[in-house]
Symmetry: C2
Subunit: 346 residues, 2 copies
Amino acid sequence: MRIAIIFGGSSFEHEISIVSAITMQKVLKGTELVNIFVSSDREFFLIDAKDMKSSTFSSGAYEKSKRLQLQKGGFVAGGMFGDKKIDIDTALNLIHGRDGEDGKIAGLFEFYGISYISPRAEACAMSYNKLYTKFFAKSIGVKTLPYELLSKNSERKITTVLPVIVKPARLGSSIGVSIVKEPSELDYALDVAFEFDTDVLIEPFMEGIKEYNQAGCLTDRWELSIIEEPQKAEFLDFEKKYMDFSRDGKVTSAEISPDIASKIQESFKAIYDPLFKGSLIRCDFFEQNGEIYLNEINPIPGSMANYLFEDFRGMIGRLVKHLPHEQKITIDYRYIHSIQSAKGKV
Amino acid sequence: MRIAIIFGGSSFEHEISIVSAITMQKVLKGTELVNIFVSSDREFFLIDAKDMKSSTFSSGAYEKSKRLQLQKGGFVAGGMFGDKKIDIDTALNLIHGRDGEDGKIAGLFEFYGISYISPRAEACAMSYNKLYTKFFAKSIGVKTLPYELLSKNSERKITTVLPVIVKPARLGSSIGVSIVKEPSELDYALDVAFEFDTDVLIEPFMEGIKEYNQAGCLTDRWELSIIEEPQKAEFLDFEKKYMDFSRDGKVTSAEISPDIASKIQESFKAIYDPLFKGSLIRCDFFEQNGEIYLNEINPIPGSMANYLFEDFRGMIGRLVKHLPHEQKITIDYRYIHSIQSAKGKV
């Protein structure tokens, strides 16, 4: 089985996608990997295994690699003697943030008929925009925190009691996120968030709330990870988060009651099935007084949350065998034919 | 100004997209058009103006046309002496249904840096799925009809009082839609709807409810069409609808009070701005006792609803000049550099 790791992209999370891709080399050892880098200006490059280190990208050396084009059925390398198809079975979308999580890569692969591991375009829309995540969660009976939405041009007045957390609606990896404890800090926090997005969510910042992460996917069975209680910095800044994307060690399960564990698992399943079929996601939950709240869906989690699974490689292999496929549509020109014959035209 | 009309696609509405594209030749006369057909298996073909007639497609003659590839910056035609770029200023996404309205084409054009008229991917997700349209409408304070959602595997029990209208969640052009008046008809109506989608919406069928259509877009000004009261068949079957996509005559405004007209226009603007910027859409509303309900958003309406506008061609010209562009993201490898220097590595 040959899996293409698709990483990089025109995204604020471009660099951490590189880190995630380097981590895959280690945690998917034994699987044949084809590494396809999407440069910040969206060209595709085939990267040799030996060049899968961060300096290849930061130095610009990747530009000497073979350029690829995307066509019906797959990637091709151009050459003197015509196009050569790159032999892969499945592509793994590992672009965090824009391009990867907003549905572009899913749309491209679906359009060109490439088998791929990724949330599908509709799932991307519902998880990339945190406001839509709230609509979606509500529709399936999963609770989320209360919120206010501010748009770039709207008045900067909020009614949520401080402290609050200020987040761009469409970014992951804590980019542009601030905690506001004093009224005087709000304006700056909004300036920062609006640098990244036209819409910003304001949520109450709950001190002492418990946080739990659950990852998983559906193959021929539910493949749920252990539940992790992530390390408790107030929240991770981008640099700490960056280091976090290279995680490959194992973690231990959170010490929680079977009741809480089961609520988290059931919420995860309700979120995942059917919208996220074909992907491996991580959901971050809050727990307070026995109630579970969805904080966010990470549709393409850092390093694919490999560290939460006993048999990550085996699971990816099973996921490849259980990817959803688009409904086949046959066009028979029945309507055009019938109208042509009604009009007596050809 | 050269506009590429993108039509066809792997869609149940493939044939009516061809009809819409043929109509564009007439209503955009005087604009330079480049016609790019997307075959049902998703290859791109450059169609000569003289071949823009339905028989070119129904006979398969289009296969003799020049094949195009999509690359960074635009479409190219391959040839003996390398690739030749197709010179266009903007692409007009005219693929109804799958591919066009589900965000694939928007994703492709955004990814490859092509200027395009179309709902952006996020807007596609919110309008292609009628359930999400309801979430979205609610969030901006626009009313919709009550509904029930049935999934393919769920029990076929409904609580809405008959008569009801049964619709696949993700299709336009009335495909798979039925009105159910007797309990005995429900099962067949669901069979039909589930042929096209895994999710089906059930809504009360309101006899005697008024229906009004409003199209428009935002350029340097609001460009709102007249409000039409569409012809009142119980609802249009696919063949009648098909004929409808070739409309190019003008229609007259609905006879409504200024108050209702203003409610329709304000609802339209709330739906359009900012989510649908860059597109020309048509919203179908119901009116009952002075209340306005959004029925559905047509993100790529049949023949672009040209017949509702005084100066369709002029408006398209202005829209081309006011298309939204993605935020530019600069990747400076700052994090990789800082981590490399912290580790003392290159």
